[in-house]
């Protein structure tokens, strides 16, 4: 019963600005995110800017040091995803029940095969189906480079030979992008710049944990993505973060009672309407296990620092399937986040048809059921249509149950 009562009270007590219209930081974030669109970057590529698909994650300092903008794969399904999926199923015969990300990716790469972003960088330790899809993309004339697989599931397994191998792979990629050996000083600069931004993101997330409704889920996801690729404009991203941090600090000076059910979100939610459903029903994503905010070691030679970063991320479970972390790790990070934020429940999210995430969710379900922490497993896709009413209802009922 209390859920409904709580919700009505909440409606009257949310006086703070909550939308991009009310917050200068959120408005600036929106403008920045919109500028980092496939169409805009395509225009930059046509004007001679070096651009590539991929390279937006742990490897972005190297890509920026090569004067190249990394374009996130998510732009491949940002629009026309249904059409792209149909191409994957009809032309490439990808089974219908397969991951919608994969299908949208290969379909869009195929339909856009004549445009000017033709280079793709992939990390071989990441999602295996993506590797297969990129093999198909080669037939459409894409220049695909794969950083060969190196894996260390535990820090102790991080061998010097593995680091040396990854460093040589990164050098090869630098050469592929620029035609000459990469300027390692530039990589070091980029690492310092990214570390600075990651520190800001960390501060922002800590502050946000106390005001989860001020920066809603959709915008928080943008910040996580920005922490990786910086929207092709690291300076502006830094300004956005500073603005938002200042706004959150101002809220911190006048604390109000928490009028939401604190939740931890594990993974991303493909469908944005689900974020709204969580927040409309009184849930606040106080903690989020998505991309980590770990820093690069600036004391190491820069390419080694990148190599250590990715292998450490694998051993911690940060960056998940993007770097081939074990499915067993996310639940540990989620548990830490639950303890840190005092969350009352967990929303575990995955993409329908993802073999990696479905196993991870099963492990999470069992683990948190033993601990007695309520968890709801959501499966979404990459399409932009609103989620089904059943999906929304499950989310709302979960929040009602926790209130």
């Amino acid at each position: 019963m209390g859920e409904v009562l709580e919700r009505s009270r909440r409606k009257t007590s949310r006086r703070r600005p909550r939308t991009a219209a009310d917050s200068a930081g959120l408005a600036a974030l929106q403008t920045l995110a919109e500028s980092y669109s496939y169409a805009n970057i395509q225009r930059e590529a046509a004007a001679g800017q070096s651009v590539l698909w991929g390279g937006w994650s742990w490897d972005s300092p190297l890509i920026y040091a090569c004067d190249t903008i990394p374009l996130g794969y998510d732009q491949l399904w940002y629009d026309d995803s249904r059409k792209s999926e149909a191409i994957a199923e009809d032309h490439f015969q990808v089974p219908g029940e397969f991951c919608s990300m994969i299908k949208a990716m290969i379909g869009r790469l195929h339909s856009d095969r004549d445009n000017n972003i033709k280079r793709i960088l992939h990390f071989g330790s990441g999602c295996e189906p993506i590797s297969s899809v990129l093999e198909l993309a080669k037939r459409d004339g894409y220049d695909v480079e794969t950083l060969d697989t190196v894996t260390a599931f535990r820090t102790a397994e991080k061998r010097a030979s593995g680091i040396a191998f990854l460093v040589s792979e990164l050098r090869r990629i630098g050469f592929w992008l620029t035609g000459h050996p990469v300027d390692e000083e530039r990589v070091a600069d980029e690492i310092r710049r990214k570390n600075l931004l990651l520190t800001k993101v960390e501060t922002l997330l800590d502050l946000r944990a106390r005001h989860p409704l001020y920066i809603p889920g959709i915008q928080t996801k943008q910040i996580f993505m920005g922490a990786m690729h910086m929207f092709g404009n690291p300076e502006q991203f830094g300004i956005v973060l500073d603005t938002l941090i200042a706004e959150l600090r101002a809220l911190d000076r006048h604390p109000e009672p928490a009028n939401y059910i604190p939740l931890v979100l594990a993974g991303s939610v493909g469908n944005q309407r689900l974020f709204q459903a969580i927040e409309e029903s009184g849930g606040g994503i106080a903690g989020w296990v998505y991309h980590g905010t770990q820093k690069y070691d600036e004391t190491l030679p820069p390419l080694e620092s990148l190599a250590h970063f990715v292998l450490d991320a694998q051993a911690r479970g940060d960056l998940g399937e993007a770097v081939g972390a074990s499915v067993a790790y996310r639940r540990i990070l989620v548990e830490e986040e639950v303890r840190k934020t005092g969350a009352r429940g967990i929303i575990s999210s995955s993409i329908i048809g993802c073999p990696y995430a479905s196993l991870m969710q099963q492990l999470e379900r069992d683990h948190f059921s033993k601990l007695g922490i309520p968890l709801i497993a959501l499966e979404t896709d990459v399409h932009r249509e609103p989620p089904t009413e059943e999906q929304i209802m499950r989310v709302k009922a979960f929040v009602e149950m926790l209130s």
């Binding site: 019963m1 209390g2 859920e3 409904v4 009562l5 919700r7 009505s8 309520p374 089904t388 009413e389 059943e390 999906q391 209802m393 499950r394 709302k396 009922a397 009602e400 149950m401």
Partner: protein, 282 residues
């Protein structure tokens, strides 16, 4: 019906002296319940295209039945898939999911309820309820597969030449066990057609379909754990064939409250509306 008979004296004693309505707009049927003046009234109709219009019809019917006017209404709670469209300018209204409403409804109608199996027009849910207060402890729902849902059974009834009501009743006349191998709606339909072509009796096919569907629901419920007392509600709860098949698979008889459990969601919504009023949300 007297509220004390339906809910018991203990619950009625905690309710304010006010008239409230719960409206549950399902995918197939819309149900509503009015609590007020010491009585409980219910109404049901087919869900129309326009949820608000359907709800208005039900509300007016209930007001007439109870002999009260709109001005007497203290609070309305809307639930069900059509709930999003519900709003009243002249009566305080809020929306609650059917999971919470069914839990509260089953609790109000049978205080010991611990597990609810709810099969509606297009989904099946299992809900664990706190018998102390009717709050949801855990729930699970199957919204991807139509097997066993009202929509599926409607289609099978059509194929066998029965009405939906007859499908359940006639399945109890079965004296031959037939195995339906497919649990998928599409394949089960073609299996029914070929069983008919082979000359199997419709009663036996109906019983087989109920058992196959019940197996699917049992698997869902098993994931949640089954604590008796179990209450069966939702649109399919009146189907005797399905009830019997589920009881035999689950291994526990279902508790039968005093009111038709098709109204559980609406009654739960009306009880929640009483609580809202009590909390001063009007």
């Amino acid at each position: 019906m007297k509220a004390n008979d339906v809910f018991g004296d203990d619950l009625v004693a905690t309710l304010p002296q006010i008239t409230t309505i719960g409206v549950d707009i399902g995918s197939r049927q819309a149900k509503a319940a009015l609590i007020g003046g010491g009585s409980v009234h219910t109404a049901i109709t087919a869900s129309g295209v326009d949820s608000q219009e359907t709800a208005d019809r039900l509300v007016n019917r209930l007001l007439r039945q109870a002999g009260v006017t709109r001005d007497d209404l203290g609070f309305v709670v809307g639930t069900g898939y059509g709930r999003i469209a519900l709003s009243y300018e002249d009566v305080p209204t809020t929306i609650v999911t059917e999971i919470s409403c069914h839990a509260m409804g089953a609790h109000a109608l049978n205080r010991g309820t611990r597990t609810i199996i709810d099969i509606g027009g297009q989904d099946a849910k299992a809900i664990r309820v706190d018998p102390e207060n009717g709050r949801v402890i855990e729930f699970i729902m199957n919204d991807k597969c139509a097997a066993g849902t009202g929509r599926f059974l409607e289609r099978i009834a059509e194929l066998l030449g029965y009405t939906l009501e007859e499908l359940g009743e006639r399945s109890l006349e079965s004296d031959k066990k037939i195995d339906i191998s497919s649990q998928c709606v599409v394949f089960a339909e073609s299996e029914v057609i070929s069983l008919k072509a082979k000359g199997e009796r419709p009663q036996d096919i109906a019983a087989a379909i109920h058992l196959a569907s019940a197996r699917r629901v049992r698997n869902l419920v098993n994931r949640l754990g089954l604590d008796p007392e179990i209450v069966f509600c939702g649109g399919v709860s009146n189907n005797l064939g399905m009830k019997q098949a589920l009881e035999s698979l689950v291994g526990h008889p279902f508790t039968t409250p005093k009111l038709d459990m098709v109204y559980a969601g609406a009654v739960g919504a009306a009880v929640l509306a009483q609580r809202h009023y009590q909390a001063g949300h009007a």
